[in-house]
């Protein structure tokens, strides 16, 4: 028999309380994210079609997956789309942020204009974009009406260029958000550092390149995480803008996954594509997160 004093109990509670409070969130994530991932991995080895079923088929779904030219196209497209999207968003976001940070008059008006697209889903703006990009009724047509007869902008109808219209619309949606992150980063930089650098006679260009941009590193991390996750999940955008066309030129893994799991009733293949996607994401994100998080300790 042993005696627990009141204060002892309290101290012990205090050490356990944080973990106790954290545990519901953790449990939810473990079940609803990692549990479901395991379930998907399992499904990818089964003959599931319209609903999950449990006939084990080994690697068959993966073999089929890699024989589908459709899948290759969508992976290649994601490569082009994600790298351009992340790079351009970051570049535009950074430029806008640096420019806006020059004591611009009307910043209060410009900033929400840059930001608002993030508030809208492509279910809302998809049709407007589709019209704008359509050479028959959109920008090209309007330019012709205004007398610029030779103007051509038919990317969305071109198998080789349509993927870039996805980049355009996606950049439109999220570059303002990236701008806000960089702007916040810039405003957080100690002005003494800037003054010191200027006194040393650094040009504006060098000031930003050598001092300011390296200081924005945490903002780059946040922007990368958010942009990468948006790029990988891009689904509404494709459906609203091109529906995967012309032909299959703008299929992305997210549309592939959805289409095989739900419209084609080949849940097994859909699951195997999801597993490959998750592994790719993990291969990119885990080292990145590891490096970033370790450094902060």
């Amino acid at each position: 028999m042993y005696h627990v004093s009141k204060s002892d109990f309290k101290t012990r509670l205090q050490t356990w309380l944080p973990k106790l409070v954290l545990s519901p969130s953790l449990a939810m994530v473990l079940i609803f994210v990692y549990g479901f991932i395991l379930f998907t991995v399992y499904l990818s080895f089964t003959d599931s079609r319209i609903l999950p079923s449990y006939g084990w088929v080994g690697w068959e779904n993966y073999n089929k997956l890699w024989r589908l030219s459709h899948w290759e196209i969508s992976l290649k497209n994601l490569g082009i789309y994600a790298s351009l999207y992340i790079a351009i968003c970051t570049a535009i976001g950074l430029t806008l942020a640096i420019f806006l940070d020059q004591k611009i008059r009307g910043e209060g008006i410009l900033r929400p204009i840059y930001l608002y697209p993030m508030a809208l889903s492509f279910i809302v703006t998809g049709t407007a974009w589709k019209w704008f990009l359509d050479p028959g009724i959109g920008l090209e047509h309007t330019m012709h009406l205004w007398g610029w007869e030779s103007f051509e902008f038919g990317w969305i109808k071109d198998r080789n260029l349509a993927i870039y219209t996805l980049v355009l619309a996606a950049v439109w949606q999220s570059s303002g958000f990236v701008m806000a992150m960089f702007l916040a980063g810039l405003r957080g930089i100690d002005s003494e550092i800037m003054k010191a650098a200027q006194i040393d006679g650094a040009s504006n260009w060098n000031l930003y390149r050598r001092i300011v941009i390296p200081l924005l590193r945490p903002a780059f991390l946040s922007a990368f995480v958010i942009l990468a996750h948006l790029a990988i999940k891009s689904y509404d955008l494709v459906i609203a803008l091109t529906g995967g066309g012309p032909g299959r030129a703008t299929e992305l893994p997210a549309t592939f996954m959805y289409s095989y799991t739900f419209t084609r009733n080949q849940m097994g293949i859909g699951a195997s594509s999801a597993v490959i996607m998750l592994m790719t994401i993990a291969a990119i994100m885990v080292p990145y997160l590891y490096a970033e998080l370790r450094e902060k300790k």
């Binding site: 319209i50 079923s53 028959g136 529906g243 066309g245 419209t263 084609r264 009733n265």
Partner: protein
């Protein structure tokens, strides 16, 4: 832990519908949300409410029912299936195979469905000899819609053969108009493919290739000819077709910017809506070369299994209501399709509707009524979409006809 055995899903669907819906209500999952469609559905709703049966609406539009089917899967998995679900073709049979659908034999026997519904259609409304769903309408896909004023102006007669059709399109193109209005979406290209395949090889070839999925037919010279004809059609489409909605393509014909459109009979609604009159302002005829055969798709309401007697009665009443000649007539006049039973009077229908009804009955008798590949009535979703992939890739110039034939054989094999 097996969360999802087939049995548990069926049982869950069974229990759920009873617990969620009060005895005399039907919960209906469908994707008919546009004005005309919803008006047509209201005919059914009013009919049921006159019998004291409530209607819980569950609309999910998008992708010709694709979103609704996704939602259905979530609902069934959750053990919360709707009582009645709008469905197409093989989806019905797939759900029946999961053991999730109710048996409607009593209603069918009482109303004599076997005698009046064409056999080709029954194949999708019955599973293992039991009625499982009630067909609402029959659409057919091998139609051409034409602007009569333009044809008259150019002195072109209604084309009867494929060569006539090509000559007519050439004449239109020469006059500076777009010959063929088309929207570049996979399902629209597949819809044309239905009609073209019928025009090349008739019902025999079509059946072998798309219904039996015979590799020899899929890889045949006829298939190559089919792709060649698709390429011909492609050359009469304007440059700006990609991604266009089908109703914008119809609008091109209505306005006279284009002359022909190959599209299912739902396109008629666009013409009527624009105040056009069949045979005066626009013509409807079968894809030249495919006259006599009809490729159909049919919207049906599949009933999910329920155990509660009241709910079963409500389902029975809904099924009976759907199949009553008066509803079939009222609904299909509004929708642009034709009735699913062949004994409905045609008085209320316009010229194109009358034509469609007569051709459906004739095709049903002669055995030349075939399920539409493009609309999931020839093969399962996996195969259908695999064919879509090839057809749309070829139409967009990714493959030549010979490659397309090869790809088609592989794609169909992989999807089975």
């Amino acid at each position: 832990m097996r969360l999802f055995s087939k049995k548990s899903v069926a049982v869950a669907a069974f229990l759920a519908s009873t617990s969620m819906v009060s005895a005399a209500d039907v919960e209906v999952l469908h994707w008919w949300t546009s004005g005309g469609e919803a008006a047509a559905l209201n005919v059914l709703k009013d009919d049921l409410s006159s019998q004291g049966i409530g209607w819980q609406d569950m609309p999910v539009a998008g992708g010709g029912g694709e979103s609704a089917m996704t939602v259905l899967r979530a609902r069934v998995t959750a053990g919360d299936a709707p009582t009645a679900v709008q469905m197409l073709g093989f989806d019905i049979l797939d759900w029946a195979a999961e053991g999730a659908l109710a048996n409607l034999n009593d209603v069918a026997a009482a109303e004599g469905w076997d005698a009046v519904v064409p056999a080709a259609l029954q194949a999708f409304a019955k599973h293992d000899g039991n009625w499982i769903s009630a067909p609402v309408n029959v659409h057919s896909t091998n139609w051409v819609w034409a602007n009569k004023a333009v044809l008259d102006e150019l002195g072109i007669a209604q084309p009867e053969s494929w060569d006539d059709f090509v000559a007519a399109m050439a004449a239109v193109k020469a006059s500076g108009r777009t010959a063929l209005a088309h929207g570049g979406q996979a399902w629209q290209e597949a819809t044309m493919f239905d009609g073209v395949a019928l025009s090349v090889g008739g019902v025999d070839f079509y059946t072998k290739a798309f219904i039996d999925m015979d590799p020899a037919a899929l890889g045949s010279d006829m298939m190559k000819e089919t792709f060649d004809r698709m390429a011909t059609l492609r050359s009469y489409v304007d440059d700006n077709f990609s991604g266009r909605d089908w109703n914008l393509a119809s609008a091109m014909v209505i306005n006279g910017d284009a002359t022909f459109q190959i599209m299912g009979d739902w396109a008629k609604g666009e013409f009527l809506n624009a105040g056009k009159v069949p045979n005066e302002d626009f013509l409807c005829f079968r894809v030249p070369g495919s006259a006599g055969s009809v490729s159909f798709n049919s919207d049906q309401f599949a009933m999910f299994a329920v155990s509660d007697a009241g709910a079963q009665a409500a389902q029975g009443a809904m099924a009976a209501s759907i199949m009553s000649p008066s509803f079939q007539s009222a609904f299909n006049v509004v929708k642009g399709s034709v009735p699913a039973r062949t004994d409905v009077p045609n008085d209320a229908f316009d010229a194109c509707g009358k034509k469609g009804m007569a051709e459906l009955a004739a095709a049903a008798d002669s055995g030349s009524l075939v399920g539409s590949m493009a609309h999931g009535h020839a093969n399962r979703a996996a195969v259908k979409n695999a064919i879509y992939d090839v057809v749309t890739a070829h139409f967009n110039g990714e493959y030549d006809s010979a490659t397309a034939v090869e790809e088609l054989v592989t794609a169909v094999e992989l999807a089975q």
